[in-house]
């Protein structure tokens, strides 16, 4: 492999990591509140509100049912408005967030639901407000499960980011597509795929370790 292709791999790997991390971070900023609202407004939540719960649930499901590639094209005008371009890694970030924030909302919801009702009741019996229950009980107690969920979400966002190639977004997906599919250079495509696999493995392993290390329910 020559220097030019090595530098291309490095550049596009970085582009993939960049797209994944920025999108994950912003998606979590949106997804955590979504998940919290879903749990809190549920009928056995701490502030039941059926209309909010239902409407939010429907909106989330709509976004989750649009195939990512279609969404990518659908939101092009919005992308242009937000980041000023429809090309390059930056342009893939808005659609990635729109696709993954609802998904993360559902993941957060299921993690928070694992916190036992008894513990929440105990906090209530101590005079905790709903905000205190969310910040001091729900989220900290669900932390190990939230981290496991994060491993799944981030790797999903990584695989979505590979579709950026279709809209000139760059990244490892773009290499696989441009060389492997359009020019029949299977070897170059394979390398890109291997790098993607390695990235997913690293993220998955890292987050699982983090989850285990911070889980105090495990006897040591």
């Amino acid at each position: 492999m020559d220097a030019a292709s090595i530098s291309m791999y490095l550049e596009e790997t970085w582009a993939t990591i960049y797209m994944t991390l920025i999108s994950s971070a912003i998606s979590y900023l949106i997804g955590i509140p979504l998940g919290v609202i879903l749990v809190v407004t549920d009928k056995d939540g701490i502030a039941p509100c059926s209309p909010v719960h239902t409407v939010l649930g429907v909106i989330i499901n709509i976004f989750r049912s649009i195939p990512f590639l279609i969404l990518l094209v659908m939101v092009l005008p919005l992308t242009k408005l937000l980041v000023g371009t429809t090309l390059g890694p930056k342009a893939i970030i808005p659609p990635l967030i729109i696709a993954s924030a609802p998904y993360i909302g559902r993941m957060v919801e299921s993690s928070l639901k694992e916190v036992s009702a008894g513990v929440i009741e105990a906090a209530k019996s101590m005079g905790a407000s709903n905000w205190q229950i969310i910040t001091k009980v729900l989220i900290p107690e669900a932390k190990p499960s939230l981290l496991v969920g994060a491993a799944i979400c981030i790797t999903t966002i990584l695989s979505y980011s590979a579709m950026a190639g279709f809209v000139g977004g760059g990244g490892l997906g773009a290499i696989a597509l441009n060389y492997g599919y359009y020019r029949y250079k299977t070897d170059i495509m394979m390398v890109a795929v291997v790098v993607l696999v390695v990235l997913v493995q690293i993220i998955q392993e890292l987050w699982m370790r983090l989850s285990r290390a911070t889980d105090k329910r495990i006897r040591s």
């Binding site: 105990a122 019996s125 889980d215 105090k216 006897r219």
Partner: protein, 341 residues
């Protein structure tokens, strides 16, 4: 408020739950006064409504009728914020302990103080003091998963007392523990009541728990208070069927009913002995004076506050006149009895 005043009053309190299959009445017309500094027991079979009752006291469940009066104020008249403040004066412990798994013991006990906005250093000092009282001062850095059930309940007690509450609500606090640990936890509750003057309210289905520590008891049956009063009174002379069943009958409410032999179609009566009559040979005297033999199907005696109380189920003879003779004998001798199936 002086010791002996009513710290909590439940007035015509009721609670109904709305379900898809209609309203379910969990509690109806509950009237109960709980004296400051006492240990009040509330006993009933599962499903009787006792867990709902304790949750109404601190407004985790809001009663659908009547009032809960805590220190002279009706909780229904308070704002949400004031209710939360009132809850800080009522600690609560649970059957499943409900500790925060991701916090160590120290931070579990400081948790209610953190919620109340107490200074961190002060909270730590208070938590250490309480963990010392429950005998876990050497394990403050441990996490709940590293503790036994009894130890977890001790932490829960320390946590419930952190805000210096006037009342401690115990919802089946010993039901998940073995007998030895149960005794230790009950001793601790008694100590807290005596030394700190905390009013303790004990919800249980175990008669032995009431016997061990309570001053007063209320028996809940089918959403109502069947009877209530000082433990000695209720135990010596249970007035209701559920009272007799809980106190004399099967011991713990959830244990199997006694096996009664003799499936004959004859009528059976249950004779209840109070502390006085249990020491007299009632059955012998009865058979001698009536000259009618009876068949004893079941008998059980237990000691309550040094007095023997018990019950006996006997089969009445076939002949109606003989049966009447026996009943007449019991009546003239002031012995309590009732016919049973």
């Amino acid at each position: 408020m002086a010791k002996g005043d009513n710290i909590i009053r439940l007035v015509n309190m009721g609670k109904a739950f709305h379900t898809s299959s209609g309203d379910v009445v969990a509690l109806d017309d509950i009237n109960l006064d709980i004296k400051e500094g006492s240990i009040q027991g509330i006993i009933g079979l599962s499903g009787a409504g006792k867990s709902t009752l304790v949750r109404c006291i601190n407004y985790l469940e809001i009663p659908t009728s009547g009032k809960v009066i805590f220190e002279g104020k009706s909780l229904g008249d308070l704002s949400d914020k004031e209710v939360r403040e009132a809850r800080r004066n009522m600690g609560m412990i649970f059957q499943q302990f409900n500790l925060l798994d991701q916090r160590n013991l120290l931070n579990n006990v400081t948790f209610p103080l953190e919620i109340a906005g107490v200074d961190k250093k002060q909270a730590r000092e208070r938590a250490m003091e309480l963990l010392k009282m429950v005998g876990l001062e050497e394990r403050v850095k441990n996490y709940p998963a590293q503790l036994s059930g009894g130890q977890k309940q001790r932490v829960a007690i320390a946590r419930a007392l952190a805000t210096n509450p006037k009342v401690l609500l115990c919802d089946e606090a010993t039901s998940a523990l073995d007998p030895k640990t149960t005794t230790q936890i009950l001793d601790l509750l008694k100590k807290i009541n005596e030394e700190m003057g905390v009013t303790v309210i004990v919800i249980t289905h175990q008669m032995s728990v009431i016997e061990a520590i309570c001053d007063s008891v209320a028996i809940i049956d089918h959403s109502h208070i069947a009877e209530s009063g000082p433990v000695s009174e209720v135990f010596n002379n249970p007035k209701t069927e559920i009272g007799r069943r809980l106190i004399l009958g099967d011991g713990d409410a959830d244990s199997a009913r006694p096996v009664i032999f003799g499936e004959g179609g004859n009528k059976k009566i249950r004779i209840v002995f109070d502390g006085h009559s249990a020491h007299q040979p009632i059955i012998s005297d009865m058979t001698l004076s009536c000259k009618i033999p009876v068949n004893i199907l079941f008998a059980n005696t237990k000691e309550v506050e040094g007095k023997a109380v018990g019950q006996m189920i006997i089969e009445l003879p076939d002949k109606e006149e003989d049966a009447d003779k026996i009943k007449q004998y019991l009546r003239t001798n002031d012995i309590i009895f009732e016919e049973v199936d």
